[in-house]
């Protein structure tokens, strides 16, 4: 297990005051909070900062942590000393139950010192129901369209017969209904934290649909940008276009304009009512990269009375 230098994580001196630590934590939490941050690795950074603050904000934990010795370097191999946390007088107040997401994701280093097996655990927790757990599941648009089943591997703490706590892996089969929307929630009753003399918690899954390279999703509707040639826009054309259910034939009307949207009813994500597919036309120009093509453009300039800036009013 690697030693973690919590002072370094927050970027403060070992002598920093509680007030200073709080200020720095607030600044870093704001910077890396996964809900608001655009920083790379924001979630990971946020967890590190939270873990460091969890220890350094609490005078007892901080004092115990400081005893480990300022000589140890971050990343260095570490074992808690055998007399760890002895000599500290615990007030017997209930351990603050943090957010389940955060608690479960603190490092091994943290759990060995302050977790259930560390010296800071309570002797006997009162009977309580298990907490609800939350997880995010990323799926592809195709999966949202078709629906399907998924085996999720979840790790959760579990008490063994001799009272120790270990992480047990269990698998959960999740049915993803066809037409599930981005951000939609699934609830798996009883699959959260096991209860201690109470009901187990539930597991909530928040579905996120990954951005697709072709389709833009808006609710149940999808939009595809469809490049067409100038003559297809001017004269109309019959084209094969992609849809989530497979390619279909459609007609581009004469005199179509760039940016115009054509609708394929019911070709979006399934539902009641199902979404539509929109084809947003974009007109691609043939390159003038040969004498023949240049001559053709010259001829259009001479023979087509066309002023693209007629509406600019000058």
């Amino acid at each position: 297990m690697e030693y973690r230098d919590y002072y370094k994580t927050l970027g403060v001196e070992r002598s920093a005051s509680a007030d200073e630590i709080k200020k720095v934590y607030r600044r870093l939490a704001r910077k890396y909070h996964p809900d608001v941050s655009k920083e790379a690795n924001a979630e990971e950074k946020f967890k590190e900062v939270q873990e460091a603050y969890e220890v350094l904000k609490d005078p007892e934990k901080r004092a115990a942590y400081d005893q480990l010795g300022p000589g140890t370097q971050s990343g260095q191999d570490f074992r808690p000393p055998p007399d760890w946390a002895s000599g500290f007088e615990f007030r017997g107040r209930p351990r603050r139950r943090g957010s389940p997401e955060a608690d479960a994701q603190f490092s091994d280093f943290f759990s060995s010192l302050f977790g259930e097996r560390g010296g800071f655990a309570e002797a006997a927790a009162a009977a309580h129901s298990g907490r609800d757990h939350h997880a995010r599941v990323d799926i592809d648009l195709e999966e949202a369209y078709r629906g399907g089943t998924r085996m999720l591997e979840l790790r959760r703490p579990q008490q063994t017969r001799d009272g120790a706590v270990e992480l047990a892996t269990h698998q959960v089969k999740v049915t993803i209904p066809a037409g599930i929307a981005d951000g939609q929630q699934l609830r798996l009753a009883g699959q959260g934290e096991p209860g201690h003399g109470g009901e187990p918690g539930d597991l909530y899954l928040e579905i996120h649909i990954r951005p697709h390279e072709l389709y833009q999703l808006d609710g149940r509707d999808v939009t595809v940008t469809l490049p067409i040639a100038p003559w297809e826009a001017a004269l109309g054309a019959s084209l094969t276009v992609p849809t989530l259910g497979g390619p279909v034939q459609m007609r581009i009307p004469e005199q179509s304009r760039a940016g115009q949207k054509l609708r394929l009813r019911g070709r979006g994500l399934p539902g009641d009512p199902p979404g539509d597919e929109y084809l947003q036309l974009s007109i691609a120009l043939p390159p003038a990269d040969s004498p023949k093509a240049r001559a053709f453009y010259e001829q259009m300039r001479r023979e087509l009375p066309f002023d693209p800036r007629a509406n600019l009013g000058s």
Binding site: R26, A29, R30, H33, D35, V36, F46, Q50, S99, P100, R131, D132, H134, A168, T169, H170, Q171, V172, K173, V174, T175, I176, P177, I180, A181, G183, Q184, Q185, L186, R187, L188, A189, G190, Q191, G201, D202, Y204, L205, E206, P211, Q216, L217, D218, T223, T225, L226, P227, A258, G259, G271, Q280, S282, I283, A284, L285, P287
Partner: protein, 109 residues
């Protein structure tokens, strides 16, 4: 150890009890009341303890709860942040669509 369990999808327009919301978001009913007063959520029911909320609002309640807990902001701050985050997400989607459209006009290169 392996187990199989059934999933329940919150359907569009489904309502969930305030108890379930509080449990899932680790917050007190008082916080839900505050967020409702601020217009972030729209409960139905006579008294807060019997309230029901649209299931689709669970995600924004949880985001607000996380912001309040992790950043020390109050209800108004969290509600404002959630609304701005949602607006930002919407703009990002539209921006991506526009960029794609512009690439289409520029043609393949």
């Amino acid at each position: 150890m392996s187990s199989i369990s059934e999933t329940h999808m919150f359907a569009e327009g489904e309502w969930i009890s305030v108890t379930q919301v509080c449990r899932a978001s680790q917050i007190d009913v008082a916080v839900v009341v505050e967020l409702a007063e601020l217009g972030l959520v729209s409960p139905r029911g006579a008294v807060p303890d019997e309230w029901q909320l649209p299931a689709r609002e669970l995600a924004r309640i949880r985001t607000a709860a996380r912001l309040m807990r992790d950043l020390g902001v109050n209800g108004s701050g969290a509600a404002l942040a959630v609304e701005l985050l949602e607006a930002r997400r919407e703009l990002e989607v539209r921006l991506r669509a526009l960029e794609r459209c512009m690439r289409g006009i520029a043609g393949p290169d």
